[in-house]
Amino acid sequence: MNVVTGTAPPHVFSWRARGLIVAGFTALSSLFALLDYTPLQFVSINLVQGILLVGLAALAAVGCALRVPVLLLAAGAILIVAGLVRLVTYGHTIGIISGSVNAAALMVGLGTVFVAIWTTSRPMSATP
């Protein structure tokens, strides 16, 4: 309780808790997108994109569990690169890796979150 304002401070999650929550959402969004249930299918996804999302979510979760935040950075960076590669190749069909651009945007968004959480795992200091 804040004795000055009389209000409780907002609950603050640790970077590990945040990372685990986002890793869970990442894995679930992949499974959710595979469901073909209109109108709830927000994002179409193919098998390779689904496996990539689940695999990188697992990598990020391991990073949180073992206190190795660089794994969050790795998972985020791979998601962002994979999403951007699909964006620039969206006009082409490249066999099994031709996933949807919706899932690619989802990857870039979730990758940004992982990188942001990795940033918060580092000590905060003022810069001149």
Binding site: Y90, V101, G109
Partner: protein, 184 residues
Amino acid sequence: MTDTRTPATIGELSVNAIPTGRPTRAVLAAVRIAVGLMWLQNVNWKRPPDFGQAAENGLYQYTSYAVENPVLAPFSWLVQNVIFPNFVLFGWGVLLAEFCLGAFLLVGFLTRFWAIVGILQTLAITLSVLNTPAEWQWSYYLMFAAQFVILATAAGRVTGVDGLLRPRWSLSSGRPARIAMALS
């Protein structure tokens, strides 16, 4: 300068204060995520390389409505004389903008900037299709409303990347951090 407030006006201020508790914040996050999902779901039919120009479908068809069913004469002129001759470039711009809108409004990254981009994109869509038969005009007005709410409330600060990174940006005096603070 003298304080001209009276007890009555101070009372009015407190009575009319907008709540900022958990329910309000949850609704703001939900609005932002819903708008992000809307853009995310609709990005796939802007398909390169020609964005529907050869078959006259997809993005090309929707853009052509601005000429067939004009909403604003200068915008129709712009579509006919500037956008159509450079349609592939325009198509990539639309694809990139909507891709980023979906990705970054969903996770609340530089939310105010992307809300402005979303409002401008909604304006372009509205000026293209508002007078097209069978269009429900309120869908575009509601898109404007939702994105103005996101812009006004900086909704990325709630359950978003902006909320995570702004404390760090605020401690940095570098130009990128100051720009990020303004755009979030």
